[in-house]
């Protein structure tokens, strides 16, 4: 065993990359859930974003166009969910799962012509001077653009939810849709926009996998990342900052366990492989056991059907 082979700086840098797809998807789902919508279709939207982004990036030769298309693709798919749950008042849990099923199938159908192709590469930013700073340089200033986009999104979502009127309306709709409706807010419209934002973010997360992190297109390539994103939102107790923490914790343990394996750590591999899941649970238990922290609970109207009966 040679633990000195693990370079902590590189470790942090790669956990940021590893966590980015789940972070993107989770921050989108956070907004949807804040508005009171539980969309279990994240996996389906991610994989749809993965193929839309891949296909457009290959056709246009531009990764930026790819990411744009991924966000649009994810948002369009989420619109199916939005129409079903908001206008036809269907059950959100079942509709979300159906969306995952549909998204997995639909993406493979689109993707049939894109197997074994290499997408145009996305350059690292490599900010001059800054990336040369020891320790901080490689961690903070030597990534591709999407890593920063994801971080900026988290910050933006945090700020909007906390400081703006939009955020207030969104939270009001999620906490008590009847009261929000009585105050004259368009509950359905707010939720629809939140759902589409969630879909767009999930699409970006998927495209990050297919265009940067892997990069290739293969059926089912998200391999459960959407489910982890859902868990991270719960883990973050519906707060943007904690979602970031959760995504980096999960990504970090995943990367660390592979590094420990590579260094020949004498812990049975099965336990190392389980560790990201177990540690996430353990941290959540510790956080939720601390009773001094108020209200870890979900938005009060999460998953409930809204119908303006008055």
């Amino acid at each position: 065993m040679d633990l000195s082979a693990i370079n902590p700086i590189l470790l942090v840098a790669s956990l940021m990359v590893a966590a980015t797809p789940i972070l993107l998807a989770a921050v989108g789902e956070l907004v949807a859930e804040k508005a009171g919508v539980l969309n279990l279709g994240v996996e389906g939207m991610m994989i749809t974003g993965a193929i839309c982004g891949f296909a457009i990036a290959v056709e246009t030769g531009s990764p930026v166009m790819g990411f744009l298309a991924a966000a649009i693709g994810g948002a369009l798919l989420s619109l199916i969910f939005g129409v079903l749950t908001q206008y036809l008042l269907s059950n959100q849990v079942a509709t979300g799962l159906a969306l995952t099923l549909f998204g997995l199938g639909f993406s493979s159908l689109i993707g049939q012509g894109y197997i074994g192709i290499k997408p145009p590469s996305t350059e690292k930013l490599d900010i001059p001077l800054l990336s040369d700073i020891p320790v901080l340089g490689p961690i903070l200033f030597n990534h591709d653009l999407m890593v920063y986009v994801a971080l900026a999104l988290v910050a933006a979502v945090w700020a909007v939810l906390k400081f703006t009127r939009t955020g207030l309306i969104l939270r009001a709709v999620g906490e008590n849709h009847d009261a929000a409706h009585a105050l004259g807010y368009k509950v359905v419209r707010v939720r629809l926009l939140a759902i589409m934002f969630g879909g767009g973010c999930a699409g970006l997360g998927g495209a990050y996998l297919s265009l940067i992190r892997v990069p290739q297109w293969t059926e089912g390539m998200t391999a459960g990342a959407g489910w982890i994103a859902l868990a991270i939102v719960v883990f973050g107790s519906w707060r943007a900052g904690r979602v970031l923490l959760g995504a980096y914790l999960f990504g970090g343990v995943t990367v660390l366990q592979l590094n420990l394996q590579a260094a020949g750590m004498a812990i049975p591999v099965e336990y190392l492989s389980m560790s990201p899941y177990l540690i996430t649970i353990a941290v959540l238990v510790i956080m939720s056991a601390d009773k001094s922290r108020a209200a870890l609970s979900a938005p009060a109207c999460l998953g409930r059907v809204f119908h303006a009966s008055s």
């Binding site: 279990l40 199916i80 079903l84 036809l88 008042l89 269907s90 059950n91 849990v93 079942a94 509709t95 799962l97 159906a98 969306l99 099923l101 549909f102 998204g103 997995l104 199938g105 639909f106 993406s107 493979s108 159908l109 049939q112 059926e219 459960g224 489910w227 859902l230 868990a231 719960v234 883990f235 099965e270 492989s273 389980m274 899941y277 177990l278 996430t280 649970i281 959540l284 238990v285 939720s288 056991a289 870890l296 979900a298 119908h307 009966s309």
Partner: protein, 361 residues
Amino acid sequence: MIRLERRPSPSRFWTALTPVLAVVATMIAGGVMFAALGKDPFEAIRTIFWDPIFNEQFAAFSRPQLLVKAAPLILIAIGLSLGFRAGVWNIGAEGQYIMGAICGAGVGLAFYPAESFVIFPLMVIAGGLGGFLWAMIPGVLRVAFRTNEILVSLLLVYVAEFMLASMSLGLLRNPEGAGFPGSRNLKAYPSAHNAELIAGTGMHWGVVAAFVAVIFAYVLLSRHMLGFQIKLAGQAPRAARFGGVNPSRLILFCLGISGILAGAAGLFEVSGPAGQISIDFNVGYGFTAIIVAFLGRLNPIGILLAGLLMALTYIGGELAQFMLGVPAAAIQAFQGMLLFFLLAVDVLSNFRIRIGRREVV
């Protein structure tokens, strides 16, 4: 202006008609998709919905298979539906299913090669217990530390999958299997084999258990105090608390019962249709069962029908794949569409559609 007006109680007429409407709508939308893929839409639809039951070449085999495929879905969905009604979100039935299979098969294999009629009942108990204990982890954490059960039950699925891989490669590996992964085949071990009870009918103990569970849930919900409490806790949590419902006990009960049923489903599957513990033993029944539960509107009879319908699309989808060369992905998308339509038309049974201006009250 179109708007919806809630019916005082769900319309019986529409409740019966909406599934038919949804299936017809799916046939049309799916037909368009199949046509776009260059397949004959009429043949594809017929293969999916008709051939598994009536095609003379397959039906004698495929029809009983509907029961085999539907049984675990129904069994798990019944357990989940109780929790969903009470607002207890067990998303991790897949993990409980796996642990039930591991524990149940483990007990059976521990007796190998002894033959006795007590072995199979012991396996069933161990299977239920395995699922129960796995479900108790989110249950106890929720009750003791208020930890969200969605997250814990979901993440434990992945942990269970690693346990499964570890078991098929280690403890439960077939010692005569030349180092290959996977346990002994329980089909070749009569005392542990969950065989067909009547040959050619597909009926095995898991199917029987599924039917029993449907009846049990029906009686519980319509006749029993606990059923009332479950419904109350879901619809009006505060009222339930004042009405003397102990929320902790209810959470543990709901998670426990869904864990037991999911674990038992895993055991019936591993000792019957699957035959052995292997790395890829689980195929997502725990997740599909969530859809089945809601498709059946959390109603035991509805779940029975929804489970059979899902099984039909699986088996019909298999036939369509190799008979017509329809890609598996198209079948998946088709199933997704069917679910969308089924969920969408539900609105008709609970609401009246009014066209025109809103009248002033």
